[in-house]
């Protein structure tokens, strides 16, 4: 609940227009979300609204519920309370406006499919029931592979790809969905530097195109370079807002507690103190 004024919710406070109009401008809003596994709370009463057209990192220590936050908000796992609105509409009716990139480790990569088969899955919603991908769909999937630098691997069995390549394929699948809001679960986990660079380029392009992008992110050192906004979690909402004002030693200490060495904190918040 801290720093609320700097989050996307500021629209509600700053403008005098009616609430209904401004809530339609909020791409992704979560209210009072609580999730528990076997009576052990993982997330407790988290409220958050993603700033429109921004690249936001979701950060926090291990077990802070970052992935759980995305999954519960999307309705993929049961929650005890809370609801999600996408441009003012309930999430169940707005899934077409969202592209979700699960963790790479969530699937079995020995599945009989090629890279382009996986990207085509992002188009299934457009293709519709009882119909098959056409030449047009294949071309679109190929374009998406190209934008992540994977066009040469279109017909490679996915199990033969490296981790970074698999992650790029996942990203291409999300691009194929051509949504307004992108939710990504650790796209940088275990990828090589070139892949990291390629993914960052794609994320920036998405934001340049006016999309709203939320990324679960692990590496605190790159937060300042990659993102304009952050959401800081540790089971509860700690802070959210622009990197310059929110990515501070004080907030990080709140989220990570003693787990972050003070020297590390000094290094990370140097820029904001200067």
């Amino acid at each position: 609940m801290h720093d609320r004024s700097s989050s996307g919710l500021h629209l509600l406070h700053d403008t005098n227009t009616s609430k209904a109009v401004s809530s339609q401008d909020l791409p992704f809003t979560v209210q009072g979300m609580t999730v528990a596994y076997h009576h052990k709370p993982v997330l407790w009463g988290v409220s958050y609204s993603a700033p429109k057209g921004c690249l936001t990192a979701i950060i926090g220590p291990n077990g802070a519920g970052k992935s759980t936050f995305l999954k519960a908000a999307l309705g993929l796992i049961p929650k005890l309370s809370g609801d999600t609105k996408v441009f003012g509409a309930p999430i169940e009716k707005s899934l077409k406006r969202i592209a979700y990139v699960p963790q790479r480790s969530a699937v079995d990569w020995d599945f009989p499919a090629t890279a382009i088969d996986v990207v085509l899955m992002g188009l299934y919603g457009q293709i519709g029931w009882f119909r098959w991908p056409s030449r047009k769909h294949r071309q679109k999937a190929m374009d998406c592979l190209k934008s992540v630098g994977m066009q040469d691997f279109a017909n490679r069995q996915i199990g033969q790809l490296s981790g970074g390549q698999q992650q790029r394929v996942f990203l291409a699948r999300a691009l194929a969905q051509n949504s307004e809001v992108y939710l990504m679960d650790e796209p940088f986990a275990g990828v090589d530097a070139a892949t990291e660079k390629a993914i960052v380029a794609v994320l920036r392009q998405l934001v340049a195109d006016g999309k709203t992008v939320l990324v679960v992110h692990h590496d605190l050192e790159t937060v300042r370079d990659y993102y304009s906004h952050i959401l800081l979690l540790n089971g509860q909402h700690v802070a959210d807002g622009p990197v310059e004002t929110t990515f501070t030693a004080e907030n990080l200490q709140k989220a990570y507690g003693g787990r972050l060495a003070s020297t590390q904190l000094d290094g990370l918040s140097e820029a904001s103190n200067a």
Binding site: L76, Y100, V107, D108, V118, M150, F153, A194, A198
Partner: protein, 411 residues
Amino acid sequence: MEQFFAALTLSAGYNTALVCIGAALLGAASGAIGVFVLLRKRTLISDAVSHATLPGVALAFIIAQVYFDSGRSLPVLLFGAALSAGIGVLAVDWIKTHTRLTEDAAIGTVLSTFFAVGMVLLTIIQSMSIAGQAGLEGFLLGATSGMLKSEALTISVAAALVGLAVVLRMKEFSLLCFDESFAAACGYNVRWLDRTLLLLLLGIVVIGLKTVGLVLIIALAIIPPVAARFWTDRVPVLVAIAAGIGASGSYIGAALSASAPNMPTGGLIVLVLFSFFVVSLLISPVRGILAAALKHYRFQRIVHLRQGLLAIAHDEPVLEPLTRSILRRGGFMGGDGQPTVKGQSEARLIERDQKLWNLYREMHPEESHALADWSLKPIGEVLPADTVRVLEQELSPHVVRGGETSRGGAV
């Protein structure tokens, strides 16, 4: 033998032909649905489904016999089978979601309990000494001899419908099996899709009871896709091959059974299917073990060739006889043991490739750990162009490339 070929060529009478065609359709449909049961890693549940049919069959027989005096009516028995199998699946689902037991524990419990109830009921039926009960044993191991024309027709039509449903839902089932949470995030009703898959499986089990029997029906859904998996890495092809194997195996099995009426049809079909499996396992060029052995042989030669060329590049002597003979055969080494010009230039290429590989492994130990083919293929064939470019730049930093300015700590 003569009878077998007559049955195989559909010339052993109208009834036998119909039974064989019915079996083929059943095999095709179960092979197709089996692909998704296999990819969803739920092969065990099909065992629970099949064993849970027995009490339904027995109860339906008793009720039909006592109240309507028509215990042998196939549709009635199959309806009973479907009902109790459905209850069995729901029971597994309930245990899984409402307790902390895993699915396999739930399946084991439900499967054995339902089968036990069924066996007790069968014994009761036998003690009732009513006419027509002899046919019931056929549900255990499958019996096509004496199958009525109408029964064979029912099986054919139902199997064709299930097969059609699987093909029409192929896209969505693939998505469900590969990435359930993505499917849910796309707005697909995953629970409902899962139910549809189980319902179609249940349909196949029930339809196949008479032909293959409940003990072996699971094999009809599992062996064809497992055998087909050796041949392809694409879902649509997998479905086609599994359906083909299921159809031909069941057809041949049913024809065999027509020429040897005392043999259980289910057993014969499964044995034929198993032979398909063994053949696939051995000779498939994609994943078969002979292909794997050949691949290993080539792999070994590539290793020797590469290490030989690296030795040439480093001016080291090549001592191993196999390496020497491979180098000589490739024209990289002369009869005197000295590298040829071709050998020298190839060695320089390999050396550079190896340097890139070493650098990659140094920079991304985790990534390269999971990667096959490292140091075996030219790096450009395994890694994307931009990754290779970064490595090349790292290897010779003085070569400045336009538009590739690196951003601080990112590289």
